[in-house]
């Protein structure tokens, strides 16, 4: 019984990369969802929320098709780099970002929308641009929501299976994540190995979430009195 630490390392890399990118991508998307007055906004909200209800295999399948050599996107990537994104770490990152997007964007936009509009108006009348208002007023007052969003997308990516299997396959060191490893072991009747790996993943995710939520509580404690 050995634990595949390579798979752990890869999963961690994936989760960190995806969370970091989601923080960057999620902020503007969440801002738009929180403050846009476009009448068809709900359509975008529905699209962003889709991964919550969609079976991961369905999402994974479409990502795989989109990355493949038959889609314009896949062809464009191949013409740039010479190889396809499917079954690579990059492909995995793209699939995971789409899959975890709502887990980042929804807490972000909920906390943005919760910021007192009067504070934003005050910022504007004091000569601040929307960008400055965003970084000096909205983001600092949304820290708990940001932490929640990042923690959720991190944990969600750590344990993801279906999308990884569809988009990444099972290439050791490239796309073989912990959950795939556990699945493999169970398939091979290595219950002891599956158990050990699963326990480590469970413990790790639990510790991360405990850390994040304790920090978050602190953030609340010094945060705005609601």
């Amino acid at each position: 019984m050995t634990i595949d630490w390579q798979a752990f390392w890869l999963t961690l890399q994936l989760a960190v990369t995806v969370s970091a990118i989601l923080l960057l991508v999620g902020l503007p998307v969440a801002y738009w969802i929180a403050f846009s007055r476009w009448r068809w906004k709900f359509l975008v909200e529905a699209v962003v929320a889709l991964p919550i209800v969609l079976p991961p295999t369905v999402l994974g399948f479409y990502v795989l098709v989109a990355l493949g050599a038959r889609s314009p996107l896949g062809r464009w990537w191949i013409s740039l780099t010479g190889h396809t994104l499917a079954f690579t770490f990059g492909g995995l990152v793209i699939g995971s970002i789409l899959y975890s997007l709502p887990f980042a964007v929804q807490p972000f936009s909920a906390s943005f929308a919760g910021v007192d509009r009067k504070l934003m108006a005050a910022s504007a009348t004091l000569g601040a641009s929307p960008l400055r208002t965003f970084f000096r007023v909205i983001v600092p007052l949304s820290v708990p929501g940001l932490i929640t969003g990042i923690a959720l997308s991190f944990a969600h990516t750590m344990g993801e299976f279906g999308v990884v299997l569809m988009v990444g396959g099972n290439i050791p060191g490239v796309t073989r994540t912990v959950s795939i490893d556990i699945y493999d072991r169970v398939q091979a009747s290595d219950y002891a190995g599956a158990n050990a790996t699963a326990l480590v993943l469970l413990a790790f995710c639990f510790v991360v979430l405990v850390l994040v939520y304790s920090l978050n509580r602190k953030a609340w404690a010094v945060g705005p009195a609601k």
Binding site: A121, A122, S123, A124, T125, L126, R132, R136, P224
Partner: protein, 393 residues
């Protein structure tokens, strides 16, 4: 060099004359129309006014459109039509599709709930609007205003940790430090006790002596109108219904409406016979019917010239009845007449008295009995000056 000096001295001369007569270049000119969809009803704000440097009070009940008006000037709400300008600087003009962004208007706005940034210190709040300045100047300006508003000791405290009065000072300081061209104050002192309020108003007056910008000050408190007022604009249901000095406006004849007439049993057409500004009263002659002699009433002073037509409203319960001519009264109006009818309504006796005009007077049953009143009795009516309510005809 010579040219520069000429220009400078020219400007100095201009600013000297400007002190004598309010300069147009600093004046706020507003003309706007804004439809707002309310719950079940549509509200229309339709106003036009100018505000010279100094305090202009916007007075009116809640829902009159005061805050919407400020939001339009600040650019937080876009009017449907009209124009807003400070001197030559156009902030909004629907005919030219001009609409300057909120951040570029130089309109200082202190909100009713102050909107201090809770996560920043008082000093950071105050420096928030100075981001465009070098750090040294930022520090200098913020420490000067912290001193002026007596909150220097709070500089490093978080905004959420300071008291109500301190927050009001911090919010005022944060806005004033940016050197705005117009200042909007939306009931910034509403939540304060009177002494604190008076001190802050003094500091604000002091600041305004040095800066001389138009200040729109929203309130629905009468005392504040008289404490601050150089000029008052009264808003009602989105329209300006009166404009002038506090004394003129707050005592001005009000538009006669069904609501205002409710409770006035006696309403008479009247003309102003004489005006006594030194006493704060005037004499009105009531329109009498037929042969009767003139009925004169001393009423509160309103903005109306001799000969102008008004309406006087007197509540039947505000009139005293006497069976002999009363002496040594503070009430100014004592009029003789004759009871023409007595009618009991529940526990009230409604009496009609002809004294040239017919007035309805309400008495208690006990009063009727002790005065032994009957139809035809000769009586004197006693009416206090301030029981006479004047309305525009």
């Amino acid at each position: 060099m010579t040219d520069a000096r000429t220009i400078e001295s020219g400007m100095a001369a201009a600013s000297l004359t400007a002190q004598n007569s309010p300069p147009d270049r600093d004046q706020l000119a507003v003309r706007l129309l804004k439809r707002m969809a309310g719950q079940g009803h549509e509200f229309v704000l339709n106003v036009e006014f100018q505000a010279a440097p100094g305090f202009t009070i916007l007075f009116g009940a809640s829902g009159a459109g005061k805050t919407t008006l400020l939001d339009c000037v600040a650019g937080l709400v876009t009017p449907d039509a009209g124009s807003i300008a400070i001197g030559d600087c156009v902030l909004f003009d629907s005919s030219r599709s001009a609409n300057v962004a909120v951040a570029k208007r130089r309109v200082g706005y202190v909100f009713q709930d102050l909107a201090l940034f809770p996560h920043l210190t008082v000093e950071q709040n105050i420096q928030y609007g100075l981001a465009h300045l070098p750090q040294a100047e930022r520090r200098e300006r913020s420490s000067a205003i912290l001193q002026a508003f007596r909150i220097a000791h709070l500089a490093l405290r978080r905004a959420r940790e300071i008291s109500g009065g301190e927050s009001q000072r911090a919010a005022l300081a944060r806005t004033l430090v940016t050197d705005p061209a117009v200042l909007l104050l939306d009931e910034p002192l509403a939540a304060l006790d009177a002494p604190t309020k008076a001190k802050i108003i003094d500091d604000l007056r002091e600041w305004n002596r040095a800066h001389r910008i138009p200040i729109l000050y929203v309130t629905h408190g009468r005392e504040e109108v008289f404490a601050l007022g150089e000029r008052v604009i009264v808003l009602d249901a989105g329209r300006i219904v009166a404009e002038g000095t506090p004394h003129e406006v707050m005592t001005a004849p009000r538009q006669e409406t069904v609501a205002q007439l409710a409770g006035f049993e006696n309403i008479f057409d009247a003309t102003v016979e004489a005006v006594h500004p030194e006493r704060g009263t005037m004499i009105c002659r009531l329109a009498t019917t037929g042969h009767a002699g003139p009925v004169l009433l001393e009423t509160p002073l309103v903005r109306a010239g001799v000969g102008s037509a008004l309406r006087v409203g007197i509540r039947a319960g505000d009139i005293l009845l006497a069976t002999s001519r009363p002496q040594g009264l503070s009430a100014r109006n004592v009029i003789s007449g004759r009871v023409t009818s007595l009618e009991q309504r529940d526990v009230i006796v409604s009496s009609r008295v002809n004294c040239g005009v017919e007035m309805e007077v309400h008495l208690t049953l006990a009063a009727r009995d002790s005065l032994q009143l009957a139809t035809g009795s000769e009586v004197w009516l006693v009416i206090k000056t301030h029981s006479c309510h004047l309305m525009e005809k």
